[in-house]
Structures are given as structure tokens and as C-alpha cells.
């Protein structure tokens, strides 16, 4: 199973194994990771699963839908060009080793 790494704002990192067909958000919440709230449970409705994607990996990710784009305008921490909602990032074998940075705040 592919593994991904979350880096907290203080620099600490957590490597998590992802399950079959899981999103990055699901892998994070299943491991009880702080820093991903996911209040809407992955329905792309809350923007509390915000992450910054390492630039090298950005192009590997699924394209952004309009609703994700709109939600990212309302994130608690600033939106950057590499901002994504982790519930919309389904982890495939190609994304093994993906690094996601957590924002200061989710609400």
C-alpha cells in the first residue's frame, strides 16, 4: 500500500500507510492525525482538510473540481498555489511517497 507523509506546521512529520482507494484525508483521520479536521467527512463541503502539496507532486494529483476551487477560497489559513483539499486526493500507487504540509489552522 502506498504511504504518504504529513508535515505539521512545527516541522514534525507523520508517515501513514494508506488503505485501498482511500483519500489522503481518510488515511489521516484513520490514523488520528491532528491537523486534519474533515468536518464534512470528505464531501467537499467544509474546507477543514486543507493541505499544501509539495510542488514536485502537484502535477501528479487529480485535477481540481470547481467546488474544491471555490472552497479553497475560504480556508482558515491562507490559500496558496499548492493548496488542495485532502479529501479530494485519492491515493494511487503513483502517489506513494507524497508529502503534504498541514496549515496552521483548519477553522
Amino acid at each position: 500500500m502506498p504511504a504518504i507523509t504529513f508535515i505539521h506546521p512545527d516541522g514534525k512529520s507523520d508517515r501513514v500507510e494508506t488503505g485501498d482507494g482511500e483519500s489522503a484525508m481518510q488515511a489521516a483521520t484513520r490514523h488520528g492525525l491532528d491537523g486534519i479536521l474533515a468536518e464534512c467527512g470528505g464531501n467537499a463541503m467544509c474546507a477543514t482538510c486543507h493541505v499544501y502539496v509539495d510542488d514536485g507532486s502537484l502535477a501528479l494529483l487529480p485535477a481540481m473540481a470547481d467546488d474544491e476551487d471555490a472552497l479553497l477560497d475560504g480556508t482558515a489559513s491562507e490559500r496558496r498555489p499548492n493548496s488542495r483539499l485532502s479529501c479530494q486526493i485519492k491515493i494511487t500507487p503513483a502517489l506513494d511517497g507524497l508529502v503534504l504540509r498541514l496549515p496552521e489552522r483548519q477553522v
Binding site: E39, A70, L71
Partner: protein
């Protein structure tokens, strides 16, 4: 209790009525019975299929093509009966129609908009606590759970000051009407005319103040996103679903925190838990208990065969306490990871006002916990009976200032 019948082989038939007073008084033993009887059960009292386990409730919510909403999300099948009011353009709609109206309300109630109203909502919560600290002893339903949303939501919508007393009674009709044709539903609809007249009038563009959620919906007509006849009905959705739900959500949170003083103290020590305390109350009490879907085709769900055109009742509240999904489901724990609960639904119809509800809950609980040391229940809480909403009619409390 359990027999096999014509509705499908192996599907347990139960004779419980989840819309009667005895059930409302204490739904938990029946929820357990429903969950444990099987993944899909049949309720002979109303001739409907029902799901009460988390996995099946989640599955039904997330397959809107099979389990549709356009035939009504109450017991009444719009294909066979005339709806009691013109159907909702969002709640009682399927894609692609739903996709368009949903996009409009998502925009009007977006995280960006929440940032703009946050300070106002927080200031009103502080003002409410000021008033409560003056009296010390009060009814936590009327004076807190109702008074707070009433002090912000109608203004946020842009409603006129006159006639707002119709809002809660109107919502009560709407949520009773999802139920079966029992006394609650019949009486609610019989008395609904003045409330309906008020609501229909207030949804018109000229009656909504500029800058409010209502005016923002009408502005989408100018953008070409919706038509001028659709806009008032979308405003109506906020009037129906935006007030009484949060009243019951805030009431649920206060009732939990008053009953479980260790959780109250935990919140007082760390105010950043306020949002989680509200969310956990929505899971624990599930202010919106149930919704229905109608099958658009024959389907097999967890081994049970359901024909086309059948009503399926989803017990959101039972799913939120399913031990298959939740650790210690019957305890109220403000640090719980609540992500995935179905108190706001799930999938394409998941509550479009969830950000408003969380904002109200968070700022209200923060204001309370900052300034109050203790909340004591001083009298017998009284339940308010509704076919869909679970909540109290009165909760006498006394508070001690911090």
C-alpha cells in the same frame, strides 16, 4: 416480531412505530432493536424499508441515483400523492436539477461568507450571555437555544422584523410533514396556512434586505444561475431548514454539557474544543433524526432485495450511535473524532447550512464556557414532539458565573 413476508425473503419485519410518542420519549432501545435485527428491515406499521446501521445509512445517502429524493424525503411518495407544499428545489430534487440549485446555496453559505459573518455572530453570542448572567435562572430552550439563533439568523437572511414569530412554527410544520399521516403531521398541516402565507411573502425579492443571504440568492438570478421563479423557493429552503435545526442543535449541546459536567469542565479549560463539543452534540443527539428516500429501481442492499418505488427510512440518529462504527457510542465526548457522522447527512444532499450551524454552535459554546462556571438543571426537562426533529420544549437551568 420477526417474520419473513412478501416484502422480501429474509428481511426482518418489525412492528415498531418510530413516529409515536412512546418511541420519541426514549428512542434508544428501539434504535438498538432496529440495528440488531438486520442491515435492512421492514416496518409493517408504515410499509417502508428501514436502515439503522451506519454502513447502510451511509450507503443509501451516497447512492442518490438509486435512492432518490425527488419523490420526497418524507413518507409521502410525490409520484402517488400531491405534496403538501410545492416541493423544495434542492432537498426534494435529484441531479441534474439539484446540482444547479445546490451550487447556488453552496456559494451563498460558503466558508468565505462565514468569515464575513463570524464577528457579528460571535458578538451576538456574547450579548446573549450578558443577558443570561443578569437572570442566572432561565429556560435554556427559550432564552438560549431559541433566542440566540433568532437574534442573528433572520437578520443574516435579511428578513423584516415583523412576523418572525412564524419562523419556528413554520419549520415545525415542515419537519412534522416528513413523517407519516399521524396526528402530529395532520394537525401541523391543518394549522400551517398563516405560517405558509408569511413565508411565501418573505421569500420575495423586495422583502429581503440587501446584503443578506436571501438577497444573495436573488442576485444569482441576474447571474443566470437560477430563474426568478426559482429564487423565492430557494430562500424558502433557508427559512425551513436554517433556524429550528440550529435551535435544536444548540439545545442539544447545552443539554449535553449540563448533563455531563466533566465535559463542561474540559471545555472551560480549553475553549478550542467548543466546535468539537457542538459537533459531538449533533452526533450524540442527532437533532434531525430521520429522512426517507425512494428507490428509483430494484436494488440489492446488503443482501436485501428492494423493489422499485419503495420508501426507505434512514435512521441517522441510530447510525450515529452504531457500535460497529463508533467507540463508546453512548458517551458524549467533546474530544471525539466525529468526522463521518451523519447528523448533517452525507453525499450530495449533505446539509448545505452546516457551516452556519457550526459557526453558531462554536461561538455560542465559546461565549458560555468563557463566562460561566457551572450549568445546573433545576427542573424536569420537557420534550418537544416532532416527526423528524429531536429536541426539548423546556430545560430549566441555573448558571454560576465564572
Amino acid at each position: 416480531m420477526t417474520v419473513s413476508g412478501p416484502a422480501g425473503s429474509g428481511i426482518p419485519h418489525l412492528d415498531v412505530d418510530p413516529f409515536d410518542m412512546k418511541f420519541f420519549a426514549d428512542p434508544y432501545p428501539t434504535h438498538e432493536l432496529l440495528r440488531e435485527a438486520g442491515p435492512v428491515v421492514y416496518l409493517d406499521r408504515w410499509n417502508v424499508y428501514a436502515v439503522a446501521r451506519y454502513a447502510e445509512v451511509h450507503a443509501v445517502l451516497n447512492d442518490p441515483a438509486t435512492f432518490c429524493s425527488s419523490r420526497g424525503v418524507g413518507l409521502s411518495d410525490f409520484k402517488k400523492e400531491t405534496p403538501w407544499r410545492p416541493p423544495s428545489l434542492i432537498l426534494e430534487a435529484d441531479p441534474p436539477a439539484h446540482t444547479r440549485t445546490r451550487a447556488v446555496l453552496s456559494k451563498v453559505l460558503s466558508p468565505t461568507v462565514m468569515k464575513q459573518v463570524r464577528d457579528r455572530f460571535a458578538a451576538a453570542a456574547e450579548a446573549r450571555v450578558d443577558a443570561l448572567l443578569e437572570t442566572r435562572s432561565f429556560d435554556a430552550i427559550t432564552d438560549l437555544a431559541e433566542a440566540y439563533p433568532l437574534s442573528i439568523f433572520p437578520d443574516a437572511l435579511g428578513l423584516k422584523p415583523e412576523g418572525r414569530e412564524h419562523l419556528i412554527p413554520y419549520a415545525s410544520v415542515v419537519f412534522n410533514a416528513f413523517g407519516p399521516p399521524n396526528q402530529l403531521r395532520q394537525e401541523a398541516i391543518e394549522r400551517s396556512a398563516p405560517h405558509q402565507a408569511y413565508v411565501t411573502e418573505q421569500c420575495q425579492r423586495e422583502n429581503l434586505a440587501p446584503g443578506g443571504f436571501g438577497a444573495c440568492i436573488h442576485a444569482q438570478v441576474d447571474e443566470g444561475a437560477i430563474t426568478a421563479t426559482e429564487a423565492p423557493l430557494l430562500v424558502r429552503s433557508l427559512l425551513s431548514a436554517g433556524l429550528d435545526t440550529t435551535v435544536n442543535g444548540i439545545a442539544a449541546a447545552v443539554y449535553c454539557l449540563a448533563r455531563f459536567p466533566d465535559q463542561w469542565q474540559r471545555l472551560r479549560q480549553d475553549l478550542t474544543l467548543a466546535r468539537g463539543a457542538f459537533e459531538e452534540a449533533v452526533r450524540f443527539e442527532s437533532p434531525v433524526q430521520t429522512f426517507f428516500r425512494t428507490t428509483s429501481r430494484e436494488v440489492e442492499l446488503s443482501g436485501a432485495r428492494i423493489g422499485e418505488g419503495e420508501k426507505v427510512l434512514m435512521f441517522l440518529a441510530a447510525a450515529n450511535r452504531d457500535p460497529r462504527r463508533w467507540d463508546k457510542p453512548d458517551s458524549y465526548d467533546i474530544t471525539r473524532r466525529t468526522s463521518g457522522h451523519v447528523g448533517f447527512g452525507s453525499g450530495i444532499h449533505m446539509c448545505v447550512g452546516q457551516l452556519v450551524a457550526r459557526l453558531e454552535g462554536e461561538v455560542m459554546l465559546t461565549a458560555l464556557a468563557r463566562r460561566i462556571e457551572k450549568i445546573e438543571i433545576t427542573g424536569e426537562p420537557k420534550r418537544r414532539f416532532n416527526n423528524t426533529l429531536r429536541g426539548l420544549d423546556s430545560l430549566p437551568v441555573t448558571i454560576t458565573p465564572a
